[in-house]
Subunit: 389 residues, 2 copies
Amino acid sequence: MFQPDLPQGTAEGTISLLFGHPDPSTLLTPAMRDALNSAMNSPQFYGAFQYGPEQGTRALIKYLVDKLNREQQLGVQTENVMITAGSTGALDMVTRLFAPPNSIVLVEAPSYADSLHVLRDHHVRLRGIPMDDQGLIVTELERILAELNVANDLPIMLYTIPNYHNPTGITLAESRRVEILNLADRYGFLIVEDDVYHDLGFESTVPSSFYALADGKSVLSIGSFSKTFAPGLRVGWLVADKNIIDQCVNCGVLQMGGGSNPFSAQVIAEFCSKGYLEPHIETLRAIYKQRCEAALTALSRYMPSDVRWTHPRGGFFLWLTLPPTVLASEVKRVANERGLNFALGEGFFIDPADGRHNLRIAFSFAALPDLERGLELLAQVIETVRRHT
Amino acid sequence: MFQPDLPQGTAEGTISLLFGHPDPSTLLTPAMRDALNSAMNSPQFYGAFQYGPEQGTRALIKYLVDKLNREQQLGVQTENVMITAGSTGALDMVTRLFAPPNSIVLVEAPSYADSLHVLRDHHVRLRGIPMDDQGLIVTELERILAELNVANDLPIMLYTIPNYHNPTGITLAESRRVEILNLADRYGFLIVEDDVYHDLGFESTVPSSFYALADGKSVLSIGSFSKTFAPGLRVGWLVADKNIIDQCVNCGVLQMGGGSNPFSAQVIAEFCSKGYLEPHIETLRAIYKQRCEAALTALSRYMPSDVRWTHPRGGFFLWLTLPPTVLASEVKRVANERGLNFALGEGFFIDPADGRHNLRIAFSFAALPDLERGLELLAQVIETVRRHT
């Protein structure tokens, strides 16, 4: 994700539905300031300045173990959890260590553009699995695995965003998760579960994670404080089998640099131990639920009848499919001129052509009236572009 | 570098000359606390919580541009500098982006063990170039390059620690730097200059950097605040040609995560802008100079006449060569039993056998009396081991 600088040709005062940034009002809150002050005055703060343990700040690991076991009825122990430099650091580390150059990594089609970029930087081969409104299509996965098996070229891992998927907002059905785990077992690939939106569901329940369903076997589950505390501290985590965590803890980057960021992690540990995280998450869920509902209402009201969109049950994003005659790139060009920005679908596919009639709306960042006005404007732009096609 | 947990079999109250950790008294100083308080109360602090610009926190980049130009008479601009997750993050990024799997990376023999580990994690092939007391031996480099050239298998980069080298403490002669640059130009490889000890020289001058001598061409220069502020914040930097910085800024990890750590970087930017860094560095130089002198005095006083050691002009380390009949591993085993720890030479070589009569002494961390007592004890252990060989 990027600094929200305006792209060239974008008008002043543009409404940005572009980035998956947290709601600005939820950062640097009084509770966060209080946690920072407490951290500074705690005896543990000195340790936050020295090289940390490679596994990460122990107080934060302990908090996460309790949280995961309490909320997901897991049986993880300290040895199953490590702190990472955001979900980014976790994905980068996991790819570096477990996906050798030229190995095949399966991804949802579409998947998060920047994750594809991280994976590509490690010289792996990407293969996309189509999705429907229940997430990754298992029969498609099965077909592709059979094909790769015949070619003796099986994948090393599946990278998936099961909850409130980026970019689509879709949640992978729990029954499919079980089927996918069976395929992983049969064909011998790891599942890397990017679950950074886990806590940001709009309903009281979220499907069981791959990690929970597999009882931790061959699943690497990635979490993050970027969405529930603040992105700028770069703190995430990885949950996995002890053997996998040990390999990660002993990688070159962590041996050289110590823990991912002892300073940031100590501040977040203080925030959590003071009991601030749970009510903050409740606030976030309410905010994003309201925004998502407002977005869905605006879409129903303004969009032409041949435009389709997803109905997220959590997270930051929803996904639009334009009529076959309307190019998203053309819609974006005109929208930018009129003061609206969003992400093209193209960047989320291995082959950009697959996304040329799609666009991603981030409802997390823009103020509510801007979000509604932006979607009204978007509907007008789509009609304008259609008339000129 | 690691949490200084005692290894198994180490006595209570062990003197640790093992890790290159900063002097404990230099962390979380009143000036650092003041900078943290100022940062918290500045209008820029909010931005430290959001995704940052991929290139890094602008105020810190600006400070570094001024510092580099002032101190090294460079002509770098904002476009030549980026913030990284410590020197570790810089080396990891540079290797990921510029050293494809199976390419050859040249390193000094010995080189920093954890850097070798980072490089190995990226599936490159390492080739060591022998050193003498002036650093990397250019005729050896030339010989190896000629050999690789014949095999049509030239290296992609040279990773070097030119100043106060880890593990040896040796500084590469400036005349050799010029010769190495000529070879880099002739054979077309990049120079990655790990210059994290640059500011910690004991004399008033330090040789010109590769970056300065090459006027920035094909040199990537890595710096760090881990030695001059605190390791726990994980903030370093990379200086290079605009084209290289652009490629780094646009890598997957930074696109996905934003700047390496906006929160840490903002705190350090505040420390620097308040004028605290320069006097802090002067304090550090005086502390480490005194420790190094004490170590050299103790070595002269206690060591057997056939033990040799380096005479660092800066940094954290010195390097011992034991007599050919004495194994460093045996010395370490006995020393651990008697309450002393240090790093074996073996880990710093591609082939560990090349370092079996070497050991690294970190004079940066242990208190002065412990340092002196530790070296006296080391001399006794060497004699003990020799008698039992």
